[in-house]
Amino acid sequence: METALKESYIQKVNRYMGLQREDARISKSYLFVAFVALLLGGILGLLQGLNRAGMLELPYWLNYYQVLTAHGVLLVLVLTAFFTIGYFYAGLSHTLGGLLPKVRKMAWIGFSLKIVGFVFAVIPILLNQASVLYTFYPPMAASPYFYIGLVLIVLGVWMCAFGAFINVAHWRKNNRGQNLPIFSFFATGVFVLLFFGSIPVAIEVFMIIPWAFGWVETINVMLSRTLFWAFGHTLVNIWYLTAVSAWYVIVPKVIGGRRFSDTLTRIVVILLVVMNIPGGFHHQIVDPGISQEVKFLHVFMSLSIAFPSLMTAYAMFSVFERTGRKQGGKGLLGWYKKLPWGDVRFLAPMIAMIAFIVGGAGGIVQSTNQLNQVVHNTMWIVGHFHITVGTSVILTFFGITYWLVPYISNRTLTPKINRLGVIQTFIWTVGMLFMAGSMHYVGLLGAPRRTSYTTYGESATAMGWDPFMILIAIGGVLLIVGVLLQVYAVFHLMFRAPKGKTEFPIAEREEHDTYTPYWTERWGNWIVIMLLLIAMGYVIPIVDFTINAPPGSPPIKTW
């Protein structure tokens, strides 16, 4: 009792004092790593773009697939994971009155595990012994140490997930009957997905390690692909949910408005968490071994994610319109002029949302079997995820940095850096329009993804791709300028910008918002429903793959 009292007293003090130095250090370290990864990954991306346009031949000691593996791992594993954890830990600390000392320790252990794991994974990549791309599909086999690194990264993520759960449970015990602050509600959803989503990949990696060491001879290829995508797809939705958290909670505050309905927001989070993991099958639409009927049923699972997404689109535009009108916007569309377009904290996520409309439409195309046959494994797919993760998610993250980094560094966003951010957003948008736009188009013309420059013996078809590949390279050059500006902005805000207080912008509820029912808080129930859906989604193919398993494949080094 006494310790509880003391703790809540400390928490109260901390709340008045604003941020906690020690918690901020955690987020700062995570964001630091994230943006170093952006810088390195971006440079590698440029090399790829130039290579595919036939403008750059990589030196003999640097293999295209090695570069592509590093680009994928740095940008979709390191950048996103470190950003997500740094961002949500800052928000947990802010909205729950500080992290518990135990949780702080867990976050640091998680950080070290991830860094050590990353070093384990990177060394074989640098030695060209793990050019298996970030999806590491068997039967391609990397050095076993690459997979051991992945295990450590997963363990690090679990540490952070459990840290978050402990902090949330602690808050709820001290604030009985209250709804979790909305930001922490999003964080809970994300960490639930991170934990359950990384279980399948952990199982996969434990299948791979003995095989990569040569202790077992063969591996079940289809099973490992399926386990990979149960994770990979969830990871995608973790980024998405992270971006969505900023759209619902932060952006309304930045534009001087209020949040959309609290209950509906929480329902969107719950739906995205519960329905997520079985969605992984849409990455296997042309894989063998899954019957047409099962694939057809899974289309519904995939498209059901469109429902909370449409709700989100509606919610955002309703918030924008309401806020714009309150500030005097007139007429059918006059409100949009009232939005703070010159504020990078709004502009970047706004463009991200617009990009998501395009990305979502592309996603629906790819979920359709017949259309998937046209675009599968072409550059279209590369265009698709540079629009979704490379624009929608990343631009939201960029927009977040302009207040989050000063907040955790006790500094302020200067008008100069804001202007830099606006220019950066503009460059990124144009760069991606060039790059992702041409990628989509050249994909329709048949250009394959994950293939270094080749003319296929001067084939006319392949030569026809070249103009678009050059556009891709031009986009890549713009993007690398964007990367440099963004990385500069982050490090400037972290170490150089003028000292001062920056607010953690969390929007208030709407004045007449309805009461939020407490059942939204019962995460145990949501998790059980989620497990049921996972069981139903996976049981048919997995039983089929294991009972009717082919002999399996020995490890193969294709590079």
């Binding site: 009927e293 049923l297 145990g524 129930n525 497990l531 049921l532 049981v539 048919i540």
Partner: protein, 185 residues
């Protein structure tokens, strides 16, 4: 009213011939998706009966036990392999399956659930945990084909699926037993 309309609509969609063919082509989808969806449709539609015949329910289902008993009987009946086979073979049995799951399982479930006390609710969960786990055990261990209409692999899949559902309900029961909501709420 909207709720009962959604239930009716769901029932109609589930009765469309292509939907029926698709869902019944896979054994586990037949048992663990089509049938529960019919029950859910019935439960949504149950609102209609509650509004229009409140006295009937008050009189016959005051403590929820008759309704839940009916639900359990119907649910258990349709988990017998033979009955599934018959539904695929005889159109009349198929019609009975649709109507019974919709009207005799879904509708009473909706009316009864709120009337049951915690012990009874948990008993229902325990019953289904045992049912699903034993079905899982049965289907995983029987080496003969139990249905004319489905292969052995379908049966094994159904076994794993049922076992997994049993485990999920067990997790739920453990979760409600070992967490104390009064600490949080």
């Amino acid at each position: 009213m909207k709720q009962s309309l959604i239930g009716l609509l769901l029932f109609i969609v589930l009765s469309l011939p292509p939907v029926v063919t698709l869902l019944e082509s896979i054994m586990i989808i037949h048992m663990h998706m089509q049938m529960p969806l019919l029950v859910i449709a019935g439960a949504l539609f149950g609102r209609y009966f509650q509004i229009h015949f409140p006295h009937f329910w008050e009189k016959w289902n005051g403590n929820g036990i008759p309704g839940i008993t009916l639900f359990v009987i119907i649910a258990v009946y349709w988990s017998i392999p033979r009955t599934m086979d018959d539904a695929l073979t005889y159109p009349s049995v198929e019609v009975f399956k649709f109507m019974s799951l919709f009207l005799l399982a879904g509708v009473p479930l909706y009316d009864s659930w709120k009337r049951l006390n915690v012990t009874l609710k948990n008993s229902v969960f325990i019953l289904f945990t045992i049912l699903f786990l034993s079905m899982g055990w049965l289907y995983l261990n029987v080496t003969q084909q139990l249905c004319n209409n489905y292969l052995l692999i379908d049966q094994i899949t159904l076994g794993w699926g049922s076992a997994a559902m049993g485990v999920c309900i067990a997790i739920y029961l453990l979760y409600t037993t070992f967490t104390d909501p009064s600490q949080y709420e």
